[in-house]
């Protein structure tokens, strides 16, 4: 009898031990870092992407650390191994894909074009600037230089339309500091510049929010659609982890929540995202062609 009792006790103890070891508490799990490109400010990045990072940690059983990174430093810090996963605009993804063989994970969906976006060239209504030809000799404001839908797409559209931004316009500027895209829109609206380049998504959101109206601007041109913000993974990572990361992103729905300081936060809504989608790397070929024509990284030639 004692023998049986002892054997059952042993089994129970072994079961308990195995259960305890199977369940890794936070802090003892694998640690990894996700670099998020700052759109406007570090504070905004932290606020937007904390719930998403927390969701990924929960889903994958990995302690992910959120690292806000400035656009111009991104590829360099990634190459230096400061973080394993990346969240950037599609042009920065291209640069890292070329330079460090960054793997494509998933593309973000936001606005009317879903996982794609485009760039618009705008002028104030009543300015008489309605076509690309009208841009000659005008004062222009561009978005940040590594912004695919705030700079590259419009730069390429102008080149394709026979306007060389380096020669044909009076001058062009790029706003300093944060919130550059809104500064472009308001710079044109208040007449500081004749023409500006704004992401079509920003125009859509500002119109939807009632900040501007459709009658405030002429859309001089809109670029073809190109992939939007992109998640990538270092080439050296465990393929299973990478696949699980991708799956966790594409399976995200608007109902998914995480706890943050006693509050339940909606992951997608907090990050201003509609969802994620898997695109092929070949879907970025149009963007590659634009970068080549505009002599932009990663294909820049001096």
């Amino acid at each position: 009898m004692n023998f049986f009792q002892n054997r059952y006790a042993l089994i129970i103890i072994l079961l308990l031990i195995s259960l305890l070891t199977a369940c890794q508490p936070e802090g003892t799990r694998q640690k990894m870092r996700i670099g998020y490109m700052n759109c406007n400010s570090e504070e905004e990045t932290l606020k937007r992407f904390y719930p998403l990072t927390s969701y990924l940690s929960q889903k994958l059983g990995v302690d992910f650390e959120l690292m806000p990174v400035d656009t111009q430093d991104f590829s360099e810090r990634f190459a230096a191994g400061e973080f394993e996963f990346t969240h950037t605009n599609s042009l920065v993804y291209l640069i890292m894909h070329e330079e460090s063989q960054l793997q494509l994970l998933a593309t973000e969906k936001r606005g009317r074009y879903g996982s794609y976006t485009s760039g618009s060239i705008i002028s104030r209504k009543g300015s008489g600037i309605k076509t690309l030809a009208d841009l000659k000799g005008k004062r222009m404001v561009f978005g940040p230089q590594l912004a695919p839908s705030g700079f590259l797409a419009q730069y390429d559209t102008m080149l394709q339309g026979g306007i060389d931004p380096e020669k044909d316009i009076a001058y062009y500027a790029i706003p300093a500091g944060s919130f550059k895209h809104e500064k472009v829109v308001y710079g044109v609206y208040f007449g500081q510049y004749d023409v500006g380049t704004a992401p079509s998504l920003d125009l859509e959101l500002m119109t939807g929010a009632g900040k501007i109206t459709a009658d405030d601007f002429n859309i001089v041109a809109e670029s073809p659609i190109i992939p939007y913000c992109t998640f990538g993974a270092s080439k050296d990572l465990d393929p299973t982890l990478v696949e699980n990361f991708r799956k966790a992103l594409v399976e995200l729905t608007e109902k998914d929540v995480v706890s943050y300081q006693g509050e339940e936060l909606k992951v997608l809504a907090s990050a201003w995202i509609d969802g994620y989608e898997t695109l092929e790397d070949s879907d970025y070929d149009l963007l590659r062609a634009m970068a080549k024509r505009a002599n932009m990284p990663p294909y820049q030639e001096f």
Binding site: R112, Y113, G114, L203, E204, T207, G210, E222, V250
Partner: protein, 179 residues
């Protein structure tokens, strides 16, 4: 069978009077109908429908004008502006779908077509003044085999599955049947 008594005769007589009165009313009462309002519900419904069509045409005319002028981007912004005042209006969805299709955003265009048809079946009717049947038919004929093949190749993709479901929905609505 029991013999008819006076009560039966009186009741039967009353019944006959009532029947004759109804027949008389139906035959000659139409002209003398003192009802306050004319009763032609089918016509009233038609008038309300025509007024709605007219209203939609006027409301979305600026969008159509911009499209005709080749200014699709401005037309989309105009739609965003109208959507603030008339969210869930199927006509805005259908116009959005058409412009997005022209811009090459196929999946998003299909989403908007589905939303529009779910909100208002007139867009797949053959005879409706709002009909977009031929455009939707073309979209389904062209894109359904393509998305079915892409989904077979990539069965994990929820986005592709959603688009394919949307195309099947449109195909089903085009096939007709009861609603």
């Amino acid at each position: 069978m029991a013999r008819r008594d006076r009560f039966d005769i009186l009741t039967g007589g009353g019944l006959l009077v009532c029947v004759l009165a109804v027949v008389f009313l139906l035959m000659v009462g139409q002209e003398k109908n003192t009802s306050a309002a004319a009763l032609d519900k089918a016509m009233e419904q038609q008038i309300a429908y025509q007024a709605r069509i007219e209203f939609l045409h006027n409301l979305y005319q600026p969008v159509e004008d911009l499209r005709l002028a080749g200014q699709a981007s401005e037309a989309l912004l105009k739609l965003d502006e109208l959507a603030r005042h008339y969210p869930q209006e199927a006509h805005g969805e259908i116009l959005q779908a058409e412009i997005l299709l022209e811009r090459g955003a196929i999946k998003e265009s299909i989403d908007h077509y589905v939303r529009a048809v779910r909100l208002n079946g007139d867009y797949v009717d053959k005879a409706s003044p709002l009909t977009r049947r031929s455009g939707i038919q073309q979209l389904v004929d062209l894109r359904l085999p393509e998305f079915a093949a892409r989904t077979r190749k990539n069965p994990q993709s929820l986005a592709l599955q959603n688009t394919l479901t949307g195309l099947y929905y449109l195909q089903s609505r085009l096939s007709g049947g009861c609603e």
